[in-house]
């Protein structure tokens, strides 16, 4: 972790420390800012909150959402739950992995995106559903998936 990132983590701890039960808000804040919860952030957070490293590590690793390693610039969450399964979620999952050339938890070679499984996005009447960063998409066919990925890449290319 760079010196700047260390400072960021320390600052985020300071900002949230006074909350009752501050650990989850701090971990969310760190992941929001850095894209993941770096290994080196754990002892730092532990020290700031007067917790053991094991306690903080235990929390980070318990929750599926917290990333332990740097991911892509965008994260695609693909729903694996029953409602999406019933309308071809499995086919979409296979297509996503094949077309991106990665498995779940993987990141594409160009670093553009990571693919993560998720159990329900609350879009169960309009499945299969995926979420790109914080944006939900419904009725995602293989073709629609490709369009969304292409759209994301071209938006990236156009960005300054």
């Amino acid at each position: 972790m760079s010196r700047t990132d260390m400072q960021t983590v320390t600052d985020l701890c300071a900002q949230n420390k006074a909350l009752p039960g501050p650990l989850m808000p701090i971990l969310h804040a760190v992941q929001n800012r850095l894209g993941f919860v770096p290994h080196d952030a754990v002892p730092l957070i532990a020290r700031e909150l007067n917790l053991s490293i094991a306690e903080v590590h235990g929390v980070v690793t318990f929750y599926h959402y917290f990333r332990k390693e740097r991911g892509g610039r965008h994260v695609v969450h693909l729903c694996r739950a029953e409602a999406c399964q019933s309308v071809g979620g499995g086919v979409l999952e296979a297509h996503a992995k094949r077309s991106l050339g990665i498995d779940f938890h993987g990141t594409t070679k160009d670093g553009a995106l990571s693919l993560e499984p998720v159990f329900c996005l609350g879009n169960c009447a309009l499945g299969p559903a995926i979420m790109i960063d914080e944006r939900l998409h419904g009725r995602v066919s293989a073709q629609r998936f490709d369009e969304l990925m292409a759209g994301m890449r071209s938006a990236e290319a156009g960005a300054p």
Binding site: M24, P25, Y63, V87, A125, M131
Partner: protein
């Protein structure tokens, strides 16, 4: 000329199929043509197969068009849809659409009608009347009203809400809490999400009433991270409620304090279980606690805590506004009031149907849902999320009623109904239930942590036809151990989908039958 009111939902499901693009196209098109419009981003009406559903306010009521893609907007403007004129996408008066008209919307009364960002709209549609009533009552009388209404926990466990509240009211402590369980993790459910996005004030009002009734001054909404739109809606509404004196140190100047904060989960299904949710709020691993002590006595940070689901808390204002008897007269037996049901999965008309208890599954699946989306026969439905039983066609006449479902070894849970057509492989679904349990187990108790992994292995051997009779016996024995030996509902109910799949669809577990069937089912 007055501006025409045009409604385009900002609900995440509507946005997931293009509502933002539709709204932008309407704004741009109307501007180009010099038509003055007032665009309102309302909640969803819950007719999700018609999203994006656009409504126009007319002299005779709101007229609906849907589903409206951005590409349809020009032709709609050509047809003068802003005056409610005919178009191939016109559905008529929204309130007259049978799917909506035949519902009994109590908790969802305002969802889709109002602008969820506007407290004026909320107040104009009866909002905060429940709170005003509660402020004029003794706390014990508020709790009694909730008890008499018959309201049971809508999260899944169906425990009488009034009894929880009474325990918290009776506990003496310097600090008490109200926690809203908004960790809606069951597949096939989205009523919490729709309500928080479409009418966030009603949840805030319900929690405030719970605080006043039990002496709790701090509330937390534990919201799953997967719902960013709901988070934004809640944050906006909480900000307004503070600014207008509906939250804070002296609610409406009456001297009673209630503060409210949103906290985010991090993708752990188990945190929908109330004690692991409390652990998570405290900043720990979301592991289930032993009960007793009950959360009502030693809950968040060891203090007395009311913990209820979103729909439970959001049903409280109408009970206080209209009286316990009004709410109680809906429903049947010990299931009183209404349940917002969610039609999901392979269903033609998926969406939210709030009905009094007593409606049958068949009515929901066919009269409302219109059968499967694929057009193939419905073979099974899973009610109550990933821990709910799979029901075959022969059980579709079961009434939506907690006890009726318990009788057939099923559960209503949070009211999600996931539909599967005849291409479903029930052995694969049973395997998935065990796999899900293995992934999501908190690890505290052995039957759940180890049993689920062993369950996947046994089902694999069974499907491969390795000494099938023996594998089935092992699987049933394992299910019994999980049912009676698990600490909470995750391990305890995973056998529901597994056993119901085996009992109702035994042919799917026989290798020879599977091999033969594979030749018949089109890819």
């Amino acid at each position: 000329m007055n501006a025409v009111k045009v409604y385009v939902p900002r609900d995440a499901a509507a946005r997931s199929v293009g509502a933002d693009q539709t709204a932008a196209a309407i704004l741009a098109g109307a501007q180009r043509r010099g038509i003055a419009i007032d665009l309102v981003r309302n909640g969803s009406r819950g007719l999700l197969w018609l999203e994006p559903l656009v409504e126009i306010e007319t002299d005779t009521g709101r007229v609906a068009y849907g589903p409206v893609a951005a590409g349809d907007v020009e032709s709609l403007l050509d047809a003068e849809f802003t005056a409610g004129k005919p178009h191939r996408l016109k559905l008529g008066l929204t309130g007259e659409i049978a799917y909506l008209k035949n519902q009994e919307r109590l908790t969802f009364a305002r969802v889709g009608l109002t602008d969820p960002r506007s407290i004026e709209d909320y107040l104009a549609h009866g909002g905060y009347r429940g709170l005003h009533a509660a402020l004029d009552m003794q706390p014990a009388a508020v709790v009694a009203a909730v008890t008499e209404s018959g309201l049971r926990g809508r999260g899944g466990a169906a425990f009488p809400a009034g009894i929880k509240w009474k325990t918290v009211l009776g506990a003496s402590a310097g600090q008490k809490y109200v926690v809203c369980n908004a960790d809606e993790g069951d597949s096939g459910t989205f009523s919490d999400r729709m309500l928080m996005e479409g009418d966030p004030f009603v949840l805030i009002e319900g929690m405030t009433i719970a605080g006043i009734a039990t002496g709790a001054t701090q509330g937390y909404i534990y919201l799953r991270w997967e719902y960013p739109d709901a988070c934004a809606a809640l944050q906006a509404a909480i900000g307004v409620a503070y600014a207008r004196g509906y939250l804070g140190e002296s609610i409406l100047g009456g001297g009673k304090r209630f503060d409210l904060e949103v906290r985010l989960g991090a993708g752990a299904y188990i945190c929908g279980e109330e004690t692991s949710l409390l652990e998570s709020l405290e900043g720990k691993r979301g592991q289930v606690r032993f009960k007793p002590p009950l959360p009502a006595l030693q809950g968040l940070f060891g203090k007395p805590t009311v913990i209820n689901n979103v729909i439970t808390l959001a049903s409280v204002p109408i009970i206080l506004e209209r009286g316990a008897a009004y709410y109680q007269h809906f429903g049947l037996g010990r299931s009183r009031g209404t349940l917002p049901l969610q039609l999901a999965g392979n269903i033609k008309r998926g969406g939210l149907v709030e009905k009094a208890f007593g409606v049958t599954l068949r009515e929901l699946l066919y009269d409302y849902g219109g059968g499967s989306l694929s057009g193939r026969p419905i073979r099974a439905v899973q009610v109550g999320g990933p821990l709910g039983a799979y029901l075959p066609e022969s059980q579709f006449d079961t009434k939506i009623d907690y006890e009726a479902f318990a009788e057939i070894k099923a559960m209503l849970g949070h009211g999600g109904i996931v539909v599967f057509d005849d291409t479903v492989d029930m052995a694969a679904q049973a395997r998935y239930a065990m796999e899900f349990c293995a992934i999501e187990s908190c690890g505290k108790c052995t039957p759940c942590r180890i049993g689920s992994t062993r369950g996947v292995e046994v089902i694999d051997r069974l499907m491969a036809g390795e000494n099938a009779a023996k594998q089935e016996a092992i699987l049933r024995d394992l299910c019994e151990t999980m049912t009676y030996g698990s600490l909470c509902a995750l391990g305890g109910l995973t056998p529901y989908p597994v056993l119901s799949a085996m009992n109702h669809f035994p042919q799917d577990f026989v290798k020879a039958a599977r091999d033969a069937a594979r030749l018949r089912i089109p890819a």
